[in-house]
């Protein structure tokens, strides 16, 4: 793959790179042009159209970032997509959340789940690639030679970009971190704990609440721990600029 590497991240000017990324990522936002090939009556056909788009996206991303990085993106995409599939299956049995199910319930459930799964495994790797296509470090370096009214706004923009890229990195490690920090929530040898009580249903609700809250806290703490360093880096850029002006 390395022999045929595309280098979209090095394309200049930036607006042209952005245009290419938007054009390739247009189907998830608008449905176009995939909607032209889709048919209302043929579920398999529609899923195949999205699968073809997914294969194109993987190929494009893989050619840009290499196989190893693509696998990292795919691990995030598959973890998230499989989680959604499982939740869809479980929650579809709760009448409170789905009061009026369609007549051919299992077919609709399968179609919706399969479609969501295919769209997510196509779009998540592309989203992560698109964010990392813009180099925050290079942007910060160019800022050191710039001035003008919008200088501070640009520094804030560079910081926001750097933080968003960092969240993408955190996401790739988060599942392992979350599993290590909360072994009782996920490892099979603890799964029987939930069935010991006669009120096991309440146990599963508590499990879900604990899983969500600890996941959110893990996401927050691992995201926020790097923020002081990023802010300090940008502060140095601003101070350096002020010293130059003086």
């Amino acid at each position: 793959m390395a022999n045929y590497q595309l280098k979209l991240s090095e394309v200049k000017p930036t607006w042209f790179k952005l245009l290419i990324l938007i054009f390739i990522g247009l189907p998830p936002f608008t449905g176009w042009p995939l909607s032209r090939f889709m048919s209302g009556n043929y579920a398999v056909h529609n899923i195949s159209v999205w699968t073809a788009y997914g294969v194109f996206i993987w190929l494009f991303t893989g050619l840009n970032v290499g196989g190893k990085q693509l696998l990292k993106y795919l691990s995030v995409a598959f973890t998230a997509s499989l989680l959604i599939l499982m939740l869809t299956g479980v929650f579809s049995h709760i009448p409170f959340l789905n009061p009026e199910k369609p007549a051919d319930e299992s077919l609709a459930l399968s179609y919706t789940s399969a479609m969501t799964f295919v769209i997510m495994i196509a779009v998540i790797p592309y989203g992560l690639f698109a964010i990392n296509c813009f180099s925050a470090s290079a942007y910060v370096q160019t800022l050191q030679f710039q001035s003008g009214k919008r200088f501070k706004f640009k520094v804030h923009l560079a910081l926001a970009l750097r933080v968003c890229q960092h969240v993408g990195d955190v996401l790739m490690k988060l599942f392992d971190i979350w599993r290590e920090e909360n072994p009782r929530l996920i490892r099979p040898r603890f799964a029987t704990d939930l069935n010991e009580s006669k009120l096991s249903f309440i146990g599963y609700i508590l499990w879900f609440k604990n899983a969500v809250v600890t996941w959110c806290f893990a996401l927050l703490s691992h995201t926020f721990e790097a923020i002081p360093y990023f802010s300090e880096e940008m502060r140095i850029v601003i101070n350096h600029k002020h010293q130059k002006i003086k």
Binding site: F29, L97, N98, E100, H156, L159, T223, I227, I238
Partner: protein, 176 residues
């Protein structure tokens, strides 16, 4: 966190926006009747409003979940941008920003935010989208029955957002 817009505030707002997008995207459960979905993104929107104030709440609410809607639910981007943006703004305005620590005031702000979300999606799905859908078929995804059907899921989502947002605001409120 100071009242003026600092680099630290930008970093935290960017992080919460990305987290709101992730929260909306990663835990989502499709709701058949309205073609919408249940998610936990509101936790981060309400947290942003409670912790940082109205403008950060507006930014996190408007941009985070709307980006997540692009994956599989593009027809809801406009509604989400407006509704969740208003939700974050209202939570920030009622909650009083980072310098107010009254739990009662914060709780009522979070509840108001949740209600805005439930009411906003109902109005969009019951009236606005069916109307626009007559002219632009892309938006013809919901109707009045669908909007009623989605109410329980949206109320559950709002409750989860309020509880989760308050639970996260409490330990963070000492860090300004």
């Amino acid at each position: 966190m100071e009242n003026k817009w600092t680099l630290g505030k930008t970093a935290v707002v960017a992080a919460l926006t990305a987290l709101a997008a992730l929260g909306t995207m990663i835990i989502r459960v499709p709701i058949f009747i309205s073609t919408g979905y249940f998610n936990i993104g509101d936790i981060f929107v309400i947290l942003a409003g409670l912790w940082l104030g109205p403008v950060p709440g507006l930014i996190v609410g408007a941009f985070g979940p709307a980006v997540a809607d692009a994956v599989g639910y593009p027809q809801f981007i406009v509604a989400t941008f407006l509704i969740k943006g208003t939700e974050g703004l209202a939570v920030g305005l009622i909650g009083g920003g980072p310098f107010v620590t009254s739990i009662k005031r914060k709780a009522s702000a979070a509840v108001c935010g949740g209600l805005i979300m439930v009411f906003g999606y109902f109005v969009f799905e019951a009236f606005i989208y069916p109307f626009i859908g007559n002219y632009v078929p892309f938006f013809k995804v919901t109707n009045l029955a669908g909007a009623y059907g989605e109410l329980p899921a949206n109320i559950t989502q709002a409750v989860l957002g309020v509880v989760g947002g308050m639970a996260m605001w409490k330990p963070l409120s000492n860090r300004r």
